[in-house]
Symmetry: C2
């Protein structure tokens, strides 16, 4: 078997939005921590999938016993940034039994009657699950801010509520992994044009995508505020350059794999006497 | 590319539990409709996955517009029959965005306070989704019957309620695909022994599995009653020989693929003017 070129450096510290991080200074074409080509990146993605799948099985197995942990992968980004591709090509490599997927669109009238975290809490992963949010509570401080759906005071309060909420999740055993897929405005233009050109992609296009694109700078500013206010030690943001889809997938896979590895789970010990059950089975 | 050996005959009519079907007369080692070896079966499974994935994407795309259909795949079988393997290896080939998985275990006290279909209704797939039930409402006429958890009259009434319930689902656009994975008693013994032998499989073993095994014949009879009473024209049962895991996976994939094909869905027509949106995009 040919050796697969893999990460030359842990990408997590390179992608984390820490103090002083600026989105404007980030290169959406970059491939931090990986020196190979697209072909090498795709080979690495396929090669790593086996470990991710095994780690997820341990997460699930342990949830049936004492150690009930979960992962919440929050995916954010401008339209066409590749959130769906992460779900399909990264999350898609693990057993569906262990995945809970939730997509958050414009809130319904019923959802608007409740606190903005109400609909989020209902879709959280239970123990043993990798929960994936395609958009999330962050829309309430992104679209919410840019479209003036709430007053600045309310938006300001929401950052605090989000931090409290995520701390609570972490305290209860959920690893909160927040990823912003960062594409450039030019790349988005090309991707939206492709969706308009291909009949099999029309369903992915919505005229609202262009409304949002017309507010590109305001959204970039709103994302910057999100990183400034909610990239905490317990739940940091990772900004993943996403102009190259293969890199974004490889990077999110690595972040997910490390989140699973950090749970340090082994196969659970049997809650029964193995010899006793062997003897029972032999009699049947 | 090497040609892949595939089905020589549509397996659906061969597997359907129609009038006069008997579980006792079924061979769990058989491979109806497929003449190849394990290697050929695994190659066919991989080759067909692309079409299943594409069909699922169309199902999902159409649900965003007018044609909101769904599939409910009900998986039943004795312990170790391979339900989990179907989820991982068949359902696992489609985009997690379009899959809703639910596993039904022994009812909780809250669930027992409600009608037996209450917990089932809560987990039904919405439009655009392939819902997968790992065990289901059928446990209430299987374990329910064998363990005398309900009177014969109540069990009898449940068959009727199930048929009404499934007719209702079908009338609302859900294809109900019911699969019983049929393993032999000897094969189960070998699989349970393996779970006891391997520390990475201990979590899949439960001493209750042997309790159920001791009631093997009663469960076979209860399955026969299920086929006799609930294998309807709108929602027939398929009994899939499952001693060979590769065959069971290939067969369920084929049933799922045909259920999707029968929806006859194309890509949805755009709900916007393509030229108009191209012009808007060009200005950004």
């Amino acid at each position: 078997m040919k050796a697969v070129k893999n990460w030359i450096e842990d990408p997590a510290p390179l992608l984390r939005a820490g103090a002083g991080y600026t989105l404007a200074g980030s290169d959406a074409d970059a491939t931090p921590g990986f020196a190979g080509t697209k072909t090498a990146g795709e080979a690495a993605l396929a090669a790593n999938a086996t470990e991710v799948s095994l780690l997820q099985e341990k997460l699930f197995a342990n949830s049936l016993f004492d150690d009930s942990r979960s992962i919440l992968l929050v995916l954010q980004g401008m339209d066409s940034a590749g959130k769906g591709g992460i779900v399909k090509h990264v999350v898609g490599s693990v057993d569906p039994q262990g995945v809970t997927h939730a997509s958050f669109k414009k809130p319904t009238p019923e959802e608007l009657e409740h606190d903005f975290l109400w609909r989020i809490r209902k879709r959280l992963p239970v123990g043993g699950q990798i929960g994936v949010f395609d958009r999330s509570h962050y829309e309430d401080v992104l679209a919410g801010k840019v479209l003036n759906l709430a007053t600045p005071d309310v938006i300001d309060e929401r950052y605090r509520q989000i931090n409290d909420f995520e701390s609570e999740l972490v305290a209860h055993g959920t690893t909160v992994l927040k990823v912003m897929l960062n594409i450039s405005a030019d790349e988005q233009k090309a991707r939206l044009a492709e969706r308009l050109d291909r009949p099999d992609k029309h369903w992915k296009f919505n005229p609202n995508d262009i409304d949002s694109r017309e507010l590109w700078n305001q959204y970039q500013d709103a994302y910057q505020a999100v990183f400034d206010r909610t990239s905490t030690t317990t739940a940091p943001w990772y900004v993943v350059p996403a102009n190259r889809k293969w890199y974004a997938r490889l990077a999110v896979q690595r972040l997910l794999m490390d989140a699973l590895r950090n749970l340090n789970q082994d196969w659970p010990a049997p809650a029964f006497g193995v010899e006793e059950q062997r003897a029972r089975l032999a009699l049947t």
